[in-house]
């Protein structure tokens, strides 16, 4: 685990924090959704870097899965943000 890799991981985690800040502060919901999506791709990054760090290609499978399903959450949110009103009147 040479120093360079650690710095990269540090940067990525820092990016995670920043995204988290946006997620917390994000005035509107779409802002939070974007942050969550960003988190997804950041995680892919972290996993990939870690895979290299530990010379374990097995982690890449996780990255593949995450890359694919990460955006599902975002699309779900988007669908609902746009929908706005309730599908049927409140009980």
């Amino acid at each position: 685990m040479n120093i360079l890799i650690e710095i990269t991981l540090g940067i990525l985690i820092l990016a995670m924090f920043l995204t988290f800040v946006r997620l917390v502060r994000g005035p509107s919901l779409p802002a939070r959704v974007v942050a969550l999506d960003m988190m997804g791709s950041l995680s892919v990054g972290i996993i990939a870097v870690y895979a290299v760090a530990t010379q374990q290609p097995i982690f890449l499978d996780v990255a593949i899965v995450l890359a694919l399903i990460g955006f599902l959450g975002t699309v779900a949110f988007a669908y609902y943000v746009e929908k706005g009103e309730l599908p049927w009147p409140k009980a």
Partner: protein
């Protein structure tokens, strides 16, 4: 040698992602924020995956890294589009610095249609 390049690529990718995150925080409104984050994040992942492919210098790993890149490149625009459209239509305020907004008032919420009469050329 390949080791060195891959480390640098990883670092570069990480930096780009950091930029995306900073963009995420600094940008005034949702749409501009989205630009910086989704695009550069995708680039970041691309670079990291390149670094990974180089680091392992094994064909299978390379294919997997390529797969990740392809997936990211194919899913991010879709999610970007969805979010942008949703944000815009749900009335998220644009940055006051936006010069013009030709889509304003064209969306009819109940029939979900967007009138498309041609403007200039």
């Amino acid at each position: 040698m390949a080791e060195g390049i891959s480390l640098i690529l990883l670092l570069l990718g990480a930096v780009f992602m950091l930029l995306a995150a900073i963009g995420m925080v600094r940008m005034p409104d949702v749409l501009t924020r989205m630009h910086s984050s989704t695009k550069s994040a995708t680039l970041g992942v691309g670079l990291i995956m390149l670094g990974v492919a180089l680091a392992f210098s094994d064909f299978d790993i390379g294919v997997r890294a390529l797969a990740i890149v392809i997936f990211t490149f194919s899913t991010t625009p879709v999610s970007a589009h969805m979010i942008a459209r949703a944000a815009y239509l749900s009335g998220v305020p644009l940055w006051e610095g936006t010069l013009s907004d030709e889509m304003r008032g064209r969306y009819d919420p109940d029939t979900h249609t967007l009138s498309g009469k041609v403007q200039s050329d």
